[in-house]
Amino acid sequence: LSEIWFSFQEHKASLIRIQREQAEAAAAKISQFIKEIESQVGWTTQLPWSAGTIDQRRFDGLRLLRQVPAITELSQLDATGREQLRVSRLAMDVVASKADFSKDPKFAEAVAHKVYYGPVYFRRESEPYMTLALTGTRRDAGVSVAEVNLKLIWDVISQIKVGERGQAYLVDAQGRLIAHPDISYRSFPFGAGAGGARGRQRQRPDRTAPGGRGHPGAARADRLCPRRSAGMACLCRAAAR
């Protein structure tokens, strides 16, 4: 994720500065988490496709899973968008399925913009995931597609304390809640018309972001996080009471 924005709603003026520092620290942690994943996936996009490279790619893919716990599955698409390899923590490796993803945004968008962040989806109804796809520098390197378990971001979020009783949470580019210290908030299939999720989204902080000198407010975060730039916003709010 190139940028992480945050905002606050403060209720005690004296806490603003502290909260801002905490929010900055939170945003930095999350940004670092995502950047780390991105750079690790980047290593898998260096090789050109040829028959001789499949074993090396398979090893690289498995080693990536070993190094980055948040990646549950990695698939590699060749320059024409066909799947040549899929390695997963949850299933056997699949070599040369040749499934065609050339029209899929995870291939098309990644080729057009170097990187693609998919919308949050829920694996087996309850586990929040996001697709991250990257192209290599070489045209023939194809696209690496990682399925990222956002629960491990949630672990980061849940450790963030804002003020005495405040909390941080994460929304994606569409304003959908990804991670919140209250885990049951995750259970809503956001964007699927769940009334509860919408109701809770209304509880997001004021968008005026007082005291946010130099810090974009939530409104800007929403506006400035178009999908292809993969915006996620870390919103921190102080306790209302």
Binding site: L90, E125, S184
Partner: protein
């Protein structure tokens, strides 16, 4: 009779959570029913992770929280009597480890919140109505997904390429539900030219006989999925596979420390630690019906090279490089 009476009583009672949440300053009481025997280091590691998770959330055993530990050692008779006892003097929450304990508990306990830990496929087995919305008094933390057994076979084949016949060993009284997935496992195994057979065991003699049978012809290997019986009797399996020189893959990392060849599966301590968050939430008034059942987030592959060497296996460096723990 007593059970039925209790069910009738609890059905009549209103959901007690809200009321409980409002009682201040009372030391809360939870009961934890473990699959393991008390001295089992795997069980102790799970308990320690659970306590650590609770501590981080402000719950200290013996201070503001009383934890009654039940070490059932996978004994169904004991599980039943423990569950009956708990129904008679219900704690605030019951934490259950594994399928067998959960299955006994849900038959008797209908109004006390139950948090399960390390249960495969809780929806398919009918314990909850969905992962996102469990719906009743039960929620928790899942363990293996069935496709992971294919992954285990793949790892076994990498370490022991000569394996062509694998025994899938479990106790049908504990894990009968594996039966319905066997055709799928067999199909997956064939991708690696492995014939998958089933070894149903309920005694130590049967374990030894099953391993001996795998050793009767070349290419034998063993896969030990999570099962309360084989967990408790794992020393017999480890000894038997050493004696008959059978490469085996287990589901728990602890087994590798005890001489097992290799393991693949979700990290059990991490899951226990996470489960503390639901105990905390429910003690503070959350309804288990609303708490999504969670899947594992961390997985581990471990290998014991000493055991590999004694089995005459040369483990490729590319496999060692993928292991989270290597015992030399």
């Amino acid at each position: 009779m007593r059970r039925r009476d209790f069910i009738a009583l609890s059905a009549a009672a209103a959901w007690p959570l809200a009321a409980r949440a409002q009682q201040p300053d009372r030391a809360r009481r939870i009961a934890v029913l473990m699959n393991n025997a008390e001295g089992d280091p795997e069980g102790q590691a799970r308990a320690a992770a659970f306590r650590q998770g609770l501590e981080a959330l402000g719950w200290t055993e013996g201070k503001n929280l009383r934890i009654d530990w039940y070490w059932t050692a996978g004994d169904v008779g004991r599980i039943r009597s423990d569950v009956t006892e708990l129904a008679g003097r219900p704690p605030d929450i019951i934490v259950t480890n594994g399928r067998v304990i959960l299955s006994e508990a849900v038959q008797v306990i209908r109004s006390i919140p139950i948090v399960f830990v390390l249960v495969n496929d809780p929806v398919g087995q009918g314990f909850i109505s969905s992962l996102a919305r469990p719906g009743g008094n039960v929620t928790g933390f899942t363990f293996f997904e069935y496709t992971m057994f294919g992954k285990s076979l793949e790892l076994l084949k990498k370490v022991a390429p000569a394996v062509t016949r694998v025994g899938f060993i479990f106790n049908p009284d504990m894990s009968a539900y594996y039966g319905q997935f066997l055709p799928a496992f067999e199909t997956e195994a064939r991708q690696y030219s492995i014939e998958l057979g089933v070894a149903r065991v309920g005694t130590e003699a049967e374990i030894n006989a099953a391993v001996a049978e795998l050793a009767a012809a070349s290419g034998g290997g063993l896969m030990v999925p999570p099962d309360a019986y084989t967990l408790v009797h794992r020393d017999v399996i480890v000894q038997s596979t050493a004696q008959y020189r059978i490469p085996a893959i287990y589901s728990y990392r602890q087994l590798i420390k005890e001489g097992g060849l290799m393991s693949y599966g979700p990290e059990t301590s991490d899951i226990f630690q996470r489960s503390a968050s639901y105990v905390d939430r429910i003690l503070k008034g959350a309804n288990p019906a609303d708490l999504p059942a969670q899947a594992p987030a961390k997985f581990e592959f471990a290998i014991n090279l000493k055991t590999a060497t004694s089995l005459g296996l040369m483990v490729p460096p590319t496999v060692i490089a993928l292991a989270d723990e290597v015992i030399e």
